[in-house]
Symmetry: D2
Subunit: 445 residues, 4 copies
């Protein structure tokens, strides 16, 4: 049964706190939502460990993925109504692209696993490659559903996500400096964290978007709404995504998994080995192995590890589950030379610095112009003037110009909280004092 032109008898809706309702009128979309690979996203938090800082951030990649779908659906609807293509090559919207856009939006994150960034870094997994496999591997339910549209539809969706799909409008909907993915996560993360930095006027942005031959542009009288979106994104990175305590919890997670791997390799687990992680410890995993993981699986192992005999593993597992973060200070290239001394002090205070200290760099490029020389050239945001000419956003906005092409973030050094505690009668007090002498106003002197 080919599903390409197979609408539902009546539109279905999903209630959503961010978009109010999410509208589904294609049978294939409903079938994709119902696949095990997609339902699995209900068990993977969108923001990993951020709920340790912003307690409301308990939402998952499932709700985010539906949100990205919904924003993309609204884009298609607006384009089909206001800018329908009349002739091939006229640069307007060809509504035959709708289904590939919707499926790409819905599935763009399907390859994510639990605590993605930390996990990937340690085990060398790659969520983009896995997304591609989920789409194109005949073993998955997602692939089976996509093939009901056409035999090459899975590859088409994969190529949108890989940015190689020929229609730049479709690619930019899903992945560009102002795409449905980013717009949903800013709004959704703001809603759940209870911050308002991520708010911007989605309705207005959708109103001023328009297709053109090169992709998607924004009408000039909506420039400020686009500017506000860029500023919101910048602020969310500074205030939420790069929060020092979130990064602390990620650091602990990374150290915990690293320790588990070392113990596994040494055959030193007292309890059963963590069966579902073994393929990753051994760098030899199947897609099925990967799809079995979620936040709960990892936390279940961490709970078990709290009573493992290795004191470092047990302590780090307890720190992670029970939120006992490391403290941190920021440092720069100029002050980084103090780090060896600080690590020695941490060691002198009784902590193995390999597991109880860490450096963490968090940097983001909030917006950039197109630069063909760049390692990773960005599709810049184009503002369309009434006469049809295009101007790059940062030439129109002083606020955007201020952050264009400049990475934002900081480097931090993490260590146990006790190192910063005020003088007590503790044996180690002289060591703590020495440590504290390096620090002022939350940074290395």
């Amino acid at each position: 049964m080919l599903m390409r032109d197979d609408p539902l008898a009546r539109e279905k809706v999903f209630r959503d706190p961010v978009h109010n309702y999410i509208h589904v009128s294609d049978r294939v979309i409903l079938a994709l939502i119902d696949t095990p690979e997609f339902q699995r996203l209900r068990r993977i938090k969108q923001l990993g460990v951020a709920n340790y800082v912003f307690q409301g951030a308990e939402h998952t990649r499932f709700t985010h993925s539906l949100g990205v779908y919904e924003i993309t659906r609204k884009m298609c609807e607006s384009f089909a109504t206001n800018f329908p293509s009349r002739a091939p090559g006229d640069g307007l919207w060809d509504d035959n692209e709708r289904l590939v856009a919707l499926c790409s939006a819905l599935l763009h994150d399907i390859g994510h696993g639990p605590y993605s960034h930390t996990f990937e870094h340690l085990f060398g997994t790659d969520h983009e490659a896995i997304t591609r496999r989920i789409l194109t591997d005949p073993s998955t339910a997602v692939n089976a559903v996509l093939k009901t549209v056409s035999p090459d539809f899975p590859e088409q969706v994969a190529s949108v996500i890989a940015h190689t799909y020929p229609n730049p409008q479709v690619v930019q909907m899903i992945s560009s400096q102002i795409d449905a993915d980013r717009m949903d996560y800013l709004l959704r993360d703001a809603y759940h964290t209870g911050t308002n930095y991520g708010l911007f006027d989605l309705t207005r942005i959708l109103r001023v978007m328009r297709p053109y031959a090169g992709g998607i542009a924004y009408e000039a009288d909506g420039m400020h709404a686009v500017e506000d979106y860029i500023v919101s994104r910048f602020q969310m990175y500074q205030q939420v995504y790069f929060h020092p305590v979130s990064r602390s919890m990620e650091t602990i997670l990374a150290k915990l998994l690293a320790r588990a791997k070392v113990l596994y390799e040494a055959g030193a687990f007292a309890q059963d080995a963590p069966r579902l992680l073994v393929p990753f410890f051994e760098h030899d995993f199947t897609l099925a192995d990967y799809l079995r993981l979620d936040d709960g699986v990892l936390n279940t192992y961490f709970t078990a590890w709290c009573t493992e005999s290795d004191p470092i593993l047990a302590d780090l597992a307890g720190r992670f589950l029970n939120r006992r973060p490391f403290k941190s200070v920021s440092f720069t290239a100029a002050t980084a030379d103090q780090l060896p001394a600080l690590r020695q002090l941490v060691a002198a205070a009784g902590f193995d610095p390999a597991y109880y200290t860490a450096e963490n760099d968090s940097f983001d490029l909030p917006y950039d112009q197109y630069d063909p020389e760049a390692a990773n050239p960005k599709t810049q945001i184009e503002i369309m003037q009434p006469d049809g000419t295009l101007s790059e956003l940062s030439t129109q906005s002083r606020l955007v110009a201020a952050i264009t092409g400049r990475v934002s973030g900081d480097k931090r050094f993490y260590f146990p909280k006790v190192m910063l505690e005020p003088t007590s009668t503790d044996l180690f007090t002289p060591i703590y004092r020495q440590f504290q002498a390096h620090v002022v106003n939350g940074r290395l002197k």
Copy 2:
């Protein structure tokens, strides 16, 4: 170190999407939040399976517990400012009760486990008894922290939760027909489900609450805010908590756990037995066993069971994880006699009715007057007139009167979706047709 009068150097705040900020100024509260027993609530969803229907309902008992604490803190603050006791027995607020009220609020749900109601029903656990044990058992971190206030403080907190604490104001703050628990969950569940049924004017209710000798009363000019709260609660039960599809997912969960228990008892698990569940299968569990469970642990087993050899276990596990709910119809005492016939039809269609059909009754008493004869007498809501006389709420509000003392809800019969599917070429079509002949407008004829 006794913590009773041990304030933090500077108030701490937790950001919260519902209350904006949660304010903590007592060291003991912070210490309780940091216990493993309390942090564990981050891994237990507040609404169990409701996110299968209202996808945003991914919030946990952790954030709810902090919310209940915050509302109680506001009550204490208002009482201390506006109605401070001047002499024992004057019926006003004694601020020495503040700490026991705050701790009781924070910890009132600490005994909950994963998918509480379903789990309890099957395994005979009792979250209230477990709450008491967590508070009073010397093995827990919670108990250790509470004892820093005074040796009998754990018992005091437990007695508030058990409604036996002598001060009725404290008890009613935490548990009555209009308490901090209900007020937080209505607001929070409304926020995350994206419905507005649960909204009411918390600020106004807090303004018109006042202590009196018998507990807590509400000033007459706030009657409508109290009425609105009762109506909101009624509507949330009808619209969210009793949603037929949520109950379907709970039904599947119950059948799944029941099947697992049967297989365990029969020694029929092909894979390893689910070690963390064994103490519950055997009805012989310790507090530590209980505290090791959370949503993720159960889901991890369910994932494994999807590939178990028992087809019923595997199918039910997949239904639960991948959201393939049963369908249902409502029935009454008058139409219940059709259920045996329906079960036979389900069996004839190839499903074991012991696992593929279920009855589910969901009833709630939205509000009631005090009735000393009742099995579970309620503390009624008292409206205080300007001259100090009290009137029971339902005598003041026609809307509340309409739902007072009357349970609301329905009985539903659950079965596989295919039984309701429109005629096809399926072998079983005649059976489905027979089944469908019993049903009209979502109920048994």
Copy 3:
């Protein structure tokens, strides 16, 4: 130029805090908004004097009228998409009705003047008759615009507002127990007063509305959203529209205008007579006279009257402008016999009871079933079951049943605040004490 099928080149939007954007795609709608008769609504507050109690209630009939238009537009859009008529008489939606529905929605309040209800009561004006004249009188810009659609279009719009238009779907959109008018004012008044009583789920109601031969019905699975709307409306009446202090300010306004009329008739104005009011004092006004009035015109006279020589006029004008309300007590048929005595006490305290006391009844019928015997039969709300049968709302909702067919409200007696002031050294203290002896808990004993 006929405008019937004359869309704008590109849809225009008006930003609105309640609906976010209001969408206009018909040239005739834009032309109607631009008429002087419609722009005049910017100068007439929606809630008259309610901002004296809920200070944010400063919004006007202009924004409300656009809101009613927008809700109606959404109804038409949903009907055209989901329930398009295929053959005459099939009971589905004929999109040729769209323009008459939109114009009726936009213009339904065009006949309102300043402080409508009070003004009408005193001067015998009738905003419904005036609406009709504005629509159909060739002197108005509104009529000129409507005639560009067709010569009989003004009459068609007028007949919708008069409930005599043949298509009951169009009539019920604009005027029924659940119409675009009420839905907008509940949401808008809630937004501006800052209360949440008026909130309900507009999106869901729009989703479950459907045309049928008899008008508009609501699908059964949306029953609770409709119930919630009815309850919201009931609560707004109780809490906002019938607020005793709003009614006090209305009472003062009525007395003030009555006094002015008496003075005019007596030729006793010391300053110039209030020229723009003279036609109303003389019960002989033209449409142009009426259209010249607005809140500002009346307030301008009131400001002048503060320095008139008549002490009652000057005092009442100052009370109205500077918010010095009368106090009130509620009374019933059983306690009404005390009113003459109370009036005498007010007189004894030095106030003319004709101007300084008043009775005010505020009653509303929140919802009713259809009753052909009733003076003003209501179109009841019909819930459509899956098999197409209709059930009247109150048979489906216990909450609605509680308020169906029963008027809600109270009778209050108004008088100067000093009558309730606590004993002082005032000469009149014995009189005040006598007065106060009649009152307990805000009502007559």
Copy 4:
């Protein structure tokens, strides 16, 4: 009766859509709200003509003034709790300053008249001087109330508003680059316009504010909340306050009043002269004359002028009341030389360019560092590091640095809409074409 330490028996609250409740516990504040001078603010819109563009902007200076009061009250409460002065000169908060701060906040706008900026420009009135007179002139009710606190209290309040009060903390609460006035209007204007540009985290800013000897500083970990406020303010100016159509309506208002003055001076009014405006036409007005004006008074004259015999006056009055704005183009110093030619074309098209063209410059300095050389030196925003050192905001925030010390805005040229209309058969078409040849993308070429 001295009111300094005269609290109300029980706190009063005013419901407010922006702050939810406004809390009043001082008798003097309630008495000030009840004065005619303050109640008059109910009749003066906060944003003048902005509701012609953002229709919801119908709120008044009354609600804004209460909002400024409420934010100031929260500042005082936080300072009194967290930073109470222990000894004179310790730079902490002396709660004896509370009442002068609250009264200054409440009354800071009391001298505003209708359509303030336009009116002042034409008639040379000065709302700051009038504020001072209302506070200190024995004829006002405000002065009488303030004197109940102490004989010199009116002067104290006036000196706060004039920035000459000795305590810089009090002055900066009311008037600085981040004061209660700006914070309220950004939130309130955002609420009523329905835009979200003006939103920022007021609660967090209040939490990180702290008094020091030089005024008010912000703790370093709240820097981003302060940054967000500055960016919000910048965006509101760009998007709302400087909207070209609002400025068009202001332009029309200015021309209308100018024409009326000319006619008055020429004795050319056909109807009665506008009595309440005469003192202003003659530049000889009393405080009482000024206090008699409000939006409604002016609009009442404008309504009358629609039928005056002077065609320019009548047309401009109609344009203003019925929203028929001029169109505009932006220009720069480089393109300003085309303006004479454009004015000639407007004249050639039949419009008197003195009344039908205008230049409008709107510029704002969104934030600046302290510069003793500046004409109007600003109190810069100080960020306090953990060790107590201060850093000026723009050194900490890249976004703020981008807009520091640089005025934002544009110059626009206004003219009748017909000049931009597309070619028609109009006699003047060649003139319009010539005009349009100067314009591209909304600016002069």
